[in-house]
């Protein structure tokens, strides 16, 4: 067997880190998608001034490194003297970051629904909201899903950066173990495997849905 100092405790430590990764991802995707849906619909069909303003603001969040955003929001909370946990700061930042990208995904999804279809719905007497919920969103989801899955997977990988504001997720956990037992390749291999295992099911699901919908 392998001659290693890696103990089962260490493995559990890594798994706990992985669970932190997953929970951060879940919160970020939840918040980000909710915001993204609203912003995306505004950007796709709302008034021009709102759309451009929103676009410009969200663009900032896509053009600044996530690491810098963590630091900024963290220090901002300190300046305001707020008593937020690091975890909350991380979730907040990641949610806004996710929302910035999700908005574009939603926007292209909504724009992909042919105008003629929407006009037909309105001609039948449906209100704007009914058109949106019964016609646009179901059709748009088909277009959006592959990108959204890609986005979710991306966020999961981005959670690694929260180590900078002191949260112990999977990568930080592996770093701790490496410093102790000095076997970087092995520990990183295990961590890599965990990352892979966390992303694979979702990626496969996405690929399968894409194939299924392509056939229809």
């Amino acid at each position: 067997m392998l001659d290693t100092s890696l103990s089962w405790n260490d493995i559990f430590f890594l798994l706990r880190g992985a669970s932190v990764t997953l929970s951060l991802t879940a919160w970020a995707v939840l918040g980000g998608t909710a915001l993204g849906l609203i912003f995306g619909i505004v950007r796709a069909g709302g008034p021009i001034w709102a759309s451009s303003l929103l676009g410009a603001v969200l663009d900032v969040f896509r053009s600044v490194p996530l690491l810098i955003q963590f630091v900024l929001i963290n220090s901002f909370k300190s300046i305001l003297g707020l008593d937020w946990s690091a975890f909350f700061v991380a979730c907040l930042t990641l949610s806004i970051y996710t929302a910035a990208y999700c908005t574009e995904v939603v926007r292209s999804g909504v724009l992909a629904v042919p105008k003629s279809t929407r006009r037909a719905a309105r001609s039948l007497g449906m209100t704007y909201t009914q058109d949106l919920t019964s016609i646009v969103l179901p059709m748009a989801t088909r277009v959006m899903l592959p990108s959204w899955i890609g986005l979710t997977l991306g966020v999961m990988k981005d959670t690694a950066l929260v180590l900078w504001i002191g949260i112990v997720e999977l990568l930080r956990a592996s770093q701790t173990i490496i410093t102790r037992i000095q076997e970087p390749m092995l520990v990183l291999a295990v961590a890599g495997l965990l990352y892979f295992l966390m992303s694979y099911p979702l990626a496969r699901l996405g690929a399968r849905l894409e194939r299924k919908w392509k056939r229809q």
Binding site: L67, I68, V71, L153, K157, Q182, L188, F196
Partner: protein, 204 residues
């Protein structure tokens, strides 16, 4: 700090050049019929796209160190980002290649061109146009990724310099806001020039 920005740009540019070259190789490998090449290509692309970029940088920085190869943080950052770029771009290039009808290659071969020549003169130029937007996006991404260098101890790039100033003066918010503004400006300048460039290049 502006000098730091320059360093970041250098690293990003270099990682893109290397990454693009490897990506072409990976994309062609994946489309070949050689099982070994396909496997290698899939392994690279799979790792690059399913693990965090920081993880990949760690692999280079800590991992290679344990094998006896000493890597300084700048090189680790460069190699890590290049590795990541190659993986993502390979998929983009593969999609681009698939969009070019096989008849183009056939027409080129019918004129007597060897496969490599036909690829170079006919197929790859067309792929370049198809993937241009995605590739420039990746370049901006690479620039933003250079900020990860600070986690492995870089002090020369924009994020590293900012952190140094932060540690010394504890004026976190001020310095990092400026850094954020610089990143934003660089990203915008880059995408703007890319759009201009594509307008000039792709007149057909």
């Amino acid at each position: 700090m502006l000098h730091g920005a320059l360093v970041s740009l250098e690293i990003a540019a270099l990682s893109m050049v290397v990454g693009t070259g490897i990506a072409v190789f990976l994309a062609l490998s994946k489309r070949s019929s050689n099982q070994l090449l396909i496997g290698f290509s899939n392994l690279w692309i799979g790792t690059a796209r399913n693990t965090p970029a920081l993880f990949q940088i760690y692999m280079v920085y800590f991992g290679l160190g344990s094998l006896g190869i000493y890597i300084d943080s700048a090189s680790a950052l460069l190699i890590g980002i290049a590795f990541n770029n190659a993986g993502y771009l390979a998929e983009t290039f593969r999609g681009g290649l698939e969009a070019i009808p096989g008849t183009q290659l056939r027409a080129a071969r019918s004129l007597g061109m060897k496969p490599a020549l036909a690829m170079r003169l006919v197929v790859l130029p067309q792929m370049f146009r198809i993937v241009f937007h995605a590739t420039t996006n990746q370049m901006v991404w690479a620039l933003l990724m250079t900020s990860l260098g600070v986690v492995v101890g870089m002090t020369d790039d924009l994020a590293g310099v900012t952190q140094e100033l932060n540690v010394r003066t504890f004026r976190t918010f001020e310095y990092f806001i400026v850094a954020a503004a610089i990143y934003y400006a660089l990203a915008k300048i880059f995408t703007g020039s890319a759009r201009l460039l594509s307008w000039r290049l792709f007149r057909y």
